[in-house]
């Protein structure tokens, strides 16, 4: 009823090109940001921050990175965890070996390292596509994790291969308590989300999507596929790299190559399939879904145990989790390839004309 577009007039193309066009959506966005930046740090428990919100934001960023490459530019990748690893290890080594480097700069350079390697491993995309490209990104994933664990220099010759990260304070957020970790992650993720939205409403975003939809036609209208594909790899790997640095420094507080395994890559891929390919909002919805599902399942199982008095065999929740993931992925691929974001889009269209149906 109160969700109406009538009466909102746009009198210039600048106005029509705004990031969030609709009044109500703008209000909702500002309210969400206020709650996220003021209310949540005041009231949220350390558990909520460290086990739910921080990983949600970090995975959202990684999913956004993969979505830029796969959802918008149409290049399938299984290597997102590898690019996260590069971001994390590059930041770690920069902070370790370059004296007095500001930690924010180390993270940025970490992202750029991931970006450079992303371009390198994106080169095959110029000749191969689809399934075969996916296989080559799989090789990227294995090669990088292998390289990081075999070459001792990267882990600073740590005996176990697991290293505790340095204490840093980027932008004045000392990353040793949950609240400042959360706030720092929130600032980074918000900024990069705005940047991604800007790219998508610019020429480069249209180039990516046109390469995805019809590459011959894209070339005929003058789009350079080399530039479009490699920038997509670069930007995507940058996002994943930053997400990797945040994962290590603001979430698990360690860096280890095995933390960035193929499992993580798949997890991020599932996020964008469930959330919505080619949708920025979808990256967030998908990440929320995948972060929250195990938590809900745990609650559900312990409640069941409590009421039934039976003891579920240990490990059953994680197995059920896998089964449910698999089922949901199949359902989404068959029924709604555009994910939860598309469902939301449809609901919105219905709401705007409610209670009428056309």
């Amino acid at each position: 009823m109160f969700y109406r577009l009538s009466g909102q007039f746009r009198t210039s193309y600048y106005e029509d090109n705004r990031l969030i066009g609709e009044k109500l959506e703008r209000t909702v966005f500002i309210a969400t940001m206020l709650v996220a930046s003021i209310a949540i740090p005041l009231v949220a428990s350390p558990y909520l921050l460290s086990a739910v919100l921080i990983p949600f934001l970090i995975f959202s960023l990684a999913a956004l990175g993969l979505n830029i490459l796969t959802g918008f530019a149409g290049q399938v990748s299984f290597g997102s965890a590898a690019f996260m690893a590069i971001g994390a290890f590059a930041s770690f080594n920069l902070l370790l070996r370059v004296p007095a480097i500001p930690s924010l700069l180390a993270f940025l350079l970490g992202g750029m390292c991931a970006s450079a390697i992303g371009v390198l491993f994106g080169l095959p995309s110029l000749r191969i596509r689809g399934f075969y490209l996916a296989a080559s990104t799989l090789a990227t994933q294995f090669f990088i994790v292998w390289c990081l664990s075999k070459v001792g220099w990267f882990t600073n010759y740590a005996a176990s291969g697991v290293i505790t990260v340095q204490h840093v304070a980027p932008l004045g957020f000392a990353l040793d308590n949950h609240v400042s970790k959360y706030l720092f992650v929130l600032v980074v993720v918000t900024t990069l989300t705005v940047v991604a939205s800007n790219l998508m409403r610019s020429n480069i975003g249209r180039s990516w999507m046109s390469i995805r939809d019809m590459d011959v036609a894209a070339e005929v209208i003058g789009i350079n596929p080399l530039y479009a594909k490699l920038t997509a790899f670069a930007v995507s790997a940058f996002y994943c790299g930053i997400a990797g640095a945040l994962y290590s420094y603001a979430y698990v507080s360690t860096v280890e190559p095995d933390g960035f395994s193929l499992d993580l890559s798949f997890k991020i891929l599932f996020m964008i399939i469930i959330g919505g390919l080619g949708s920025i909002l979808g990256s967030f919805i998908g990440a929320a879904f995948i972060v929250l599902l195990p938590i809900w399942l745990n609650v559900f199982f312990s409640a069941m145990e409590h009421f039934s008095g039976l003891k579920a065999p240990s490990g059953i929740t994680s197995n059920v989790e896998l089964i449910i993931f698999g089922g949901i992925i199949i359902v989404f691929l068959v029924v709604e390839p555009h994910g939860l974001a598309r469902l939301w889009q449809r609901a919105k269209e219905k709401l705007q004309i409610w209670p009428l149906s056309h």
């Binding site: 940047v195 800007n198 610019s202 020429n203 180039s207 999507m209 046109s210 011959v216």
Partner: protein, 262 residues
């Protein structure tokens, strides 16, 4: 005669083979600026191959293309786009996941100059350009009468409209030569009439040179200034519609061998 003006586009001795199959054999013709030039012929005559040679999708084994006084033996599709070629395809080649507006603005992508960084922060040139190019794109949308659909995703539009959007995307680039591969295929009479109107308007108003492949003979005879007829990769006739219509070899190619009592 009128050959004092050099033609805008000249094709000389073009041969194109796929393995042992000759798709085009030693074909030459020219296109004057501002004219509507049709290429006709039965199925498999090599019409689409000809368009693909002109805008660089195929590279002919022999022959040369002279465009605007410059000779080239091979030209990439992107160079062709930059030189002012735009085209539509036989099977619609739109960006299905994008809106009509995005498709049309993408047609103008070569006009954008802002760097990646400027686009990322939506500042200065990127922001201004986006509004300025939008204004130009809107002119094409208005010209093609697509205002109602500008924010609709292309895949949700019916076939006839998609054909129109594709022409709009090509026109958005402000081309010097527009290559149309069966722009009216699969349309009803009314849609064909509309399409003809758009094509001719663009030709008359902006002086766009048009090379067109079409199967509907009444349309071709009505709107084209000169016609090239291909059959099995050979050129069998070239000239004004009425000459082509009365040409024996053309009649034979279309209707089969006829024995004329003469």
């Amino acid at each position: 005669m009128q050959n004092a003006i050099p033609p805008l586009l000249q094709l000389r001795g073009i041969s194109l083979r796929f393995g042992g199959v000759a798709a085009l054999a030693n074909i030459s013709f020219d296109v004057q600026e501002h004219e509507v030039r049709a290429i006709i012929g039965p199925n498999g005559a090599g019409k689409s191959s000809m368009l693909n040679v002109i805008n660089g999708i195929y590279c002919p084994q022999e022959g040369e293309i002279v465009f605007n006084g410059e000779k080239r033996t091979r030209m990439s599709t992107r160079m062709a786009a930059a030189a002012g070629f735009a085209r539509t395809f036989q099977n619609i080649a739109l960006f299905q996941g994008m809106t009509v507006l995005e498709n049309v603005v993408a047609g103008r992508n070569l006009k954008f100059k802002a760097s990646l960084l400027e686009q990322a922060v939506w500042f200065g040139r990127a922001r201004r350009e986006e509004a300025a190019q939008r204004e130009k794109a809107e002119e094409v949308i208005e010209f093609m009468e697509l205002e109602r659909y500008r924010k609709k995703v292309v895949s949700q539009l019916p076939y006839g409209l998609q054909k129109r959007v594709e022409l709009a995307r090509a026109l958005a680039a402000e081309p010097r030569i527009l290559l149309l591969d069966e722009p009216m295929a699969g349309m009803n009479a009314e849609e064909k009439r509309e399409m003809c109107r758009f094509i001719l308007n663009s030709n008359r108003r902006d002086g766009t040179t048009i090379i067109l492949i079409e199967h509907d003979m009444s349309v071709v005879m009505d709107i084209s200034d000169r016609i090239v007829v291909l059959d099995y990769g050979r050129k069998i006739a070239d000239g004004q519609p009425k000459c082509v219509r009365d040409n024996d070899e053309v009649i034979r190619a279309y209707l089969g061998r006829s024995e004329r009592v003469g």
